[in-house]
Symmetry: C2
Subunit: 260 residues, 2 copies
């Protein structure tokens, strides 16, 4: 049986922090006619909120640690403020959005990251995405909007990387749908030359990916992002694209497409 | 056709502020075998959070005003922190809870309260509860957990009284289910003598209600609560009970039952 298309879009901080850009993106997202899922990160708001409350970010070896107090803040900001703001804006556009954390409907199960060199605190690594529950929502024309909070089924909420949520949700939904996964970030795509915003690499396959990594063209933050993309493709996601907020517009032709 | 029973329970600040009481209540709630809905208020947490951020509650004539900053705080605390904490705890009990604001699935539509003598700010009066969407959740064994935030379908979130949400959801669901509505608060029921916590009035009908009001036995905060109860009964809710956290336990016999 031919699978129906499902469009999964992850947006990052650059869009969430920019009111006008967010509104414009949500208008484009609402206009997508296929079943769809939105996944959003947190942006600067959680850091700002912590600062207002006099709480300093806790860092170990340059990595952010989610202690109890910081977990409360990200739960408030991601699952409360940002998730409901986005949901209400989509509702205004007649997109029947439903804001979700992984605890809601038991949709994303994770476990607290094991302590090796660093104890990251209340950070979750995803165990299971309940695709059947998500399918129920989609079949009733609801558009799930996931924030970057999951749970462990033992009453514990966990802070979870939004890029990883996007790829894991995309992989799980691929059993039921033909999934297109989009990562929307601040650049027009993966750049050949980081100093030239228009040097977008149109297409990257596994082989080219290895070359780009060994040449140092893909480095830093792009490494885990592309790792998530290729992992998704290997596990059944039909198509992955990376680009800026105009990525989901049908008139946009400049972005990076990935394939295995 | 005989309607299926639906149990709707509203809990207030006294339970939310007490970790042990909340856990014990959520265990009892999870054990209810009928389809069910939980509605929660905010407790002291929003006030504490505002204080930590140096924001003073805004009052006019003794009434709290929800300005933009306070709306952000209640959205974070009610829809984020408390709603997800309760949802995760219910999930631990194998109750497939789903935390919701009125914006999620467009489940509760409200309009900003009209400015008469006082401008209450971003406070919502309920227009419509989408019982069909809520029914979809219930039919898939999901347990909706509503916080006290609604929306106006124009992108605006609104702070809304949780007692009113409970009665309006109960009224709307009465078209589809035989609804029992429970208001759980700090007392064992409506008291004959406020100084005697055991002087619970077992049963109040419309006539007795009028007498109790004119005798001054029902006053202050109990007035709007009982108004909500009788409004619900008049509009089709099958049964309303008021009591403390043990109200939903099958072995509890001390509470107030209302009828018209």
């Amino acid at each position: 049986m031919k699978k129906q298309k499902l469009h999964i879009v992850k947006i990052g901080g650059n869009i969430i922090n920019d009111e006008a850009l967010l509104t414009s993106f949500l208008n484009d997202f609402s206009a997508l006619s296929t079943p769809k899922i939105l996944i959003h990160g947190g942006g600067k708001k959680a850091t700002e909120m912590a600062a207002e409350m006099g709480i300093k970010p806790k860092m170990v070896n340059g990595r952010r640690i989610t202690d109890k107090q910081n977990l409360e803040i990200v739960t408030m900001v991601y699952a409360g403020l940002l998730n409901k703001k986005i949901t209400a804006q989509l509702q205004q556009n007649n997109c029947n959005a439903m804001g979700l954390s992984g605890a809601d409907g038991n949709s994303i199960l994770a476990q607290k990251r094991l302590v090796k060199e660093i104890d990251y605190g209340f950070v979750g690594d995803i165990d299971k995405v309940n695709s059947e529950t998500i399918q129920v929502f989609l079949e009733h024309n609801l558009t799930p909007v996931f924030c970057a909070i999951t749970h462990d089924k033992n009453g514990q909420l966990l802070n979870t990387n939004a890029d990883t949520i996007a790829s894991e949700v995309a992989i799980a939904m691929s059993e039921l749908y033909k999934v297109e996964l989009n990562y929307v970030f601040e650049l027009k795509g993966v750049l050949e030359n980081i100093k030239d915003e228009n040097s977008v690499i149109k297409h990257i396959n596994s082989k080219k990916y290895q070359l780009l990594v060994s040449d140092g063209i893909i480095s830093d933050g792009m490494l885990p992002k592309l790792h998530n993309c290729f992992n998704a493709l290997k596990k059944g996601v039909h198509q992955v694209k990376i680009g800026d907020a105009s990525l989901i517009r049908s008139d946009n032709k400049r972005y990076t497409t990935l394939s295995i």
